[in-house]
């Protein structure tokens, strides 16, 4: 028999299955941050002068900034001089691999173990993958097939070399290098990430996906992703992330920029499963991420879907600037704060164009000693006539040591706007668990069933292949929660 309190106690005994470390030779910069480090990163990547200048401007600006203290999270200050800002698999003097065939088999094995095979014959059908390992991309699959449709999908470094005009045109246009402390740091030191360009009128034939893996110790991962959907195009993109189990905290400060031109649609999904640390709050990733998209053209659409189960601390607000008339922004989020995890996450919907519409569905689950905060801003500018927003913000509590918090901000400057906000907080009750038990359903299955039911509205927004994965991940994250 298991009472609710036992359910909660054993919640913390779960295992993180992606916590292994791959022993590969690396080219790692010593810890520390100064202009030389930035010059070094830029030189490694054979970047043009303008990009180095942009990085240096960001760095100089960053030195004038203070780390934000407003999020509802607690952590020891990060020592930015104790982090290594560049770590790449492979020896210093070796050329970078020209194709996946030249990639160190140990790296390919790592991705096999993570369930993201990169080899030609085992690749996921219908999904093109860019695999980022610490500071660099180790390879991108299905590039030739995508090229037939004019779709560019490659690592950010490759894009800087091959398509500098596109990078120069769009980099920093959604998240300027002055944006915020972590985004500015990223602008100075970003190493790799993915770049996507979908040409006019093209519906991308494959799901695009980037798998981020932090491997090396005492390094930070600072990736940068840029997705541009030209007029009338359509793309669905997914990112996944994991890291080894370590007692020290590691910093992950990424920036994602999305640009949707007229009638274009970008669907961006995240399954974030960084190492969450242990039940006492030792170790785990600090996930301080800036994600923002702009619906630049009329009738464009950006949809963020996130399933956040990992990280010691999550600080991210995937946002949409609705500039084009009749543009649509959507945000669907499931955030789990278990163990000693802290999440302060939500979105910003900035309505500038006429008849712009946004939907926010946020599902926060708190368990263990987890603290989950929803923070969201809905802003309607004075020219945004007939803007509409609907926000639904639900919290589910499991046990009595966790917390759920909601910080909604609404700023409306146009009287024709219609903004709705609904919020609920519920607890998985002893009654519900007993009712399931009394129908022969085990407590663990009952908890999973109730949590998955709670998350359903968000899971169904994920591409089909990943909806199953997200549900399985949620089950694993709740594993061991019953005796």
């Amino acid at each position: 028999m298991s009472s609710e309190s036992e359910v909660i106690d054993q919640f913390v005994e779960q295992e993180y299955k992606w916590g292994f470390y791959t022993d590969v030779e690396t080219d790692t910069l010593p810890p520390g941050l100064n202009e030389d480090v930035i010059r070094h990163i830029s030189a490694k990547k054979e970047e043009p002068e303008w990009l180095l200048d942009w990085r240096l401007k960001a760095f100089r600006h960053w030195q004038t900034m203070e780390e934000p203290r407003w999020p509802h999270v607690n952590y020891e200050p990060v020592d930015y001089q104790a982090i290594s800002y560049y770590s790449a698999p492979g020896a210093k003097d070796k050329d970078r691999p020209k194709s996946l065939d030249e990639v160190d088999p140990k790296l390919l094995e790592t991705y096999d173990k993570l369930g993201v095979p990169l080899h030609e014959r085992e690749r996921l059908a219908g999904v093109a993958v860019d695999a980022v390992f610490d500071s660099v991309s180790v390879g991108t699959t299905h590039q030739e097939e995508l090229a037939k449709h004019g779709v560019i999908f490659c690592s950010f470094s490759e894009a800087v070399r091959e398509h500098p005009e596109l990078i120069q045109k769009y980099l920093g246009t959604v998240v300027p290098y002055t944006d915020n402390f972590f985004a500015t740091l990223n602008s100075a030191v970003f190493s790799d990430g993915s770049f996507v360009y979908i040409p006019k009128g093209v519906r991308c034939p494959l799901e695009l996906s980037t798998y981020f893996r932090i491997n090396a110790a005492e390094t930070g991962q600072f990736e940068r992703t840029l997705i541009v959907a030209d007029e009338g195009s359509h793309v669905s993109y997914l990112e996944g992330c994991t890291a080894p189990m370590r007692d020290e905290n590691q910093l992950h400060a990424a920036v994602v920029e999305l640009v949707a031109l007229g009638d274009a649609e970008i669907k961006y999904s995240t399954v974030q499963n960084w190492y969450p640390g242990d039940e006492d709050g030792h170790g785990g990733i600090y996930n301080f991420v800036t994600k923002r998209g702009i619906c630049k053209g009329d009738r464009s659409k950006i949809c963020w879907t996130q399933v956040e189960t990992g990280s010691a601390i999550t600080w991210k607000y995937p946002s949409v600037i609705l500039r084009g008339d009749d543009s649509v922004g959507e945000f669907y989020s499931v955030a789990l704060a278990n163990l000693a995890q802290q999440a302060d996450t939500g979105t910003k919907m900035i309505h500038l164009g006429k008849n712009t519409r946004s939907t926010i569905i946020s599902k926060g689950i708190s368990a263990g000693k987890g603290q989950n905060s929803y923070r969201g801003l809905v802003q309607v500018g004075k020219n945004a006539t007939k803007a509409r927003n609907f926000t639904q913000c639900d919290s589910l509590l499991i046990g009595s040591r966790c917390g759920a918090h909601t910080f909604p901000y609404i700023e409306v400057k146009n009287p024709s706007a219609k903004v709705e906000h609904e919020a609920t907080t519920s607890k998985i009750g002893e009654d519900q668990i007993f009712y399931c038990n009394a129908r022969g359903i085990e407590t663990q299955d009952a908890v999973n069933m109730i949590v998955n039911g709670f998350c359903k509205e968000v899971f169904r927004e994920l591409p089909m292949e990943f909806a199953m994965e997200a549900q399985a991940l949620m089950d694993v994250s709740l594993e061991g929660s019953v005796g």
Binding site: M1, E430, R439, G440, F454
Partner: protein, 250 residues
């Protein structure tokens, strides 16, 4: 089939059941009646395995096993079923999905293959006709937004799907109009066989016009103070419980 001996139990130091003795054989229907607060629902919940009761004395043997030693889900697998007085709402969990999980957990225990969605739907369609339930309910979340009558009928639907050997019906008649009562009773009677048994807990005699018991027991202050044939229920309906309480005091 079920043998309760001198069962004494309470909550947070307050005694509710003060020595219950009850023996139920296969093929029998027993009814427990009693005033509010007499311990009827406590007995039902305790038999189903609800936590939080302190059992200070007595035993419950079910099909030769110590029932109190089994977890609630294990009791279900041994053919025990409780139809709840207040069925619990589980938002977000689809009713069909929930019922299939329940049926398959039982089948797995019995070493039978899982029912796939198609086979399960077939089984369920057959059973919902019995309860005259609207199929659209099955697409909704478990008990969420169901009317009182729908909830009770859904309980009996679950009973029909799990086909228990021993079922406790806890005030299944409360909140039902007479038509719904007939449907529910019809469903319960349909499930009655020579090799199973039912314990019907009720406040009112009228349910027993439709589910006819072999024995009626009167529960007062956590004790069975009188047992008799089905006519006892009619007498209770006419005279109330006071005369029994007075008889006890005398």
């Amino acid at each position: 089939m079920l043998e309760i001996k001198n069962l004494q139990a309470g909550v947070e130091g307050k005694m509710i059941l003060n020595g219950i003795d009850l023996s139920i054989n296969a093929g029998e229907v027993h009814a427990i009646m009693g005033p509010n607060g007499s311990g009827k629902s406590t007995l039902a919940q305790l038999l189903a395995g609800r936590e939080g009761y302190e059992i200070s004395a007595g035993s419950v043997s079910y099909k030769g096993q110590d029932l109190l030693d089994l977890g609630p889900e294990e009791r279900v697998r041994e053919g025990f079923f409780l139809a709840f007085q207040y069925p619990v709402e589980i938002p977000g969990v689809n009713t069909t999905y929930f019922l299939r999980a329940a049926v398959n957990a039982l089948r797995e225990h019995r070493g039978e293959p899982e029912l796939n969605a198609v086979d399960f739907l077939k089984l369920m369609r057959e059973k919902i006709q019995l309860l005259e339930l609207d199929e659209s309910l099955l697409k909704r979340s478990v008990n969420e937004g169901f009317s009182g009558g729908e909830k009770k009928r859904a309980e009996i639907l679950q009973m029909a799907l799990l086909d228990p050997t021993f079922a406790v019906l806890d005030e299944t008649d409360s909140g039902l109009d007479i038509d719904a009562l007939k449907v529910v009773a019809g469903g319960v009677n349909h499930l009655k066989r020579a090799d199973n048994a039912q314990l019907v807990i009720t406040h009112y005699q009228r349910l027993l016009d439709y589910i006819v018991p072999d024995y009626v027991h009167v529960l007062v202050d956590g004790r069975i103070v009188k047992s008799g044939p089905k006519e006892l229920a009619l007498e209770l309906e006419e005279r109330g419980y006071d005369w029994i309480i007075e008889e006890q005091a005398a």
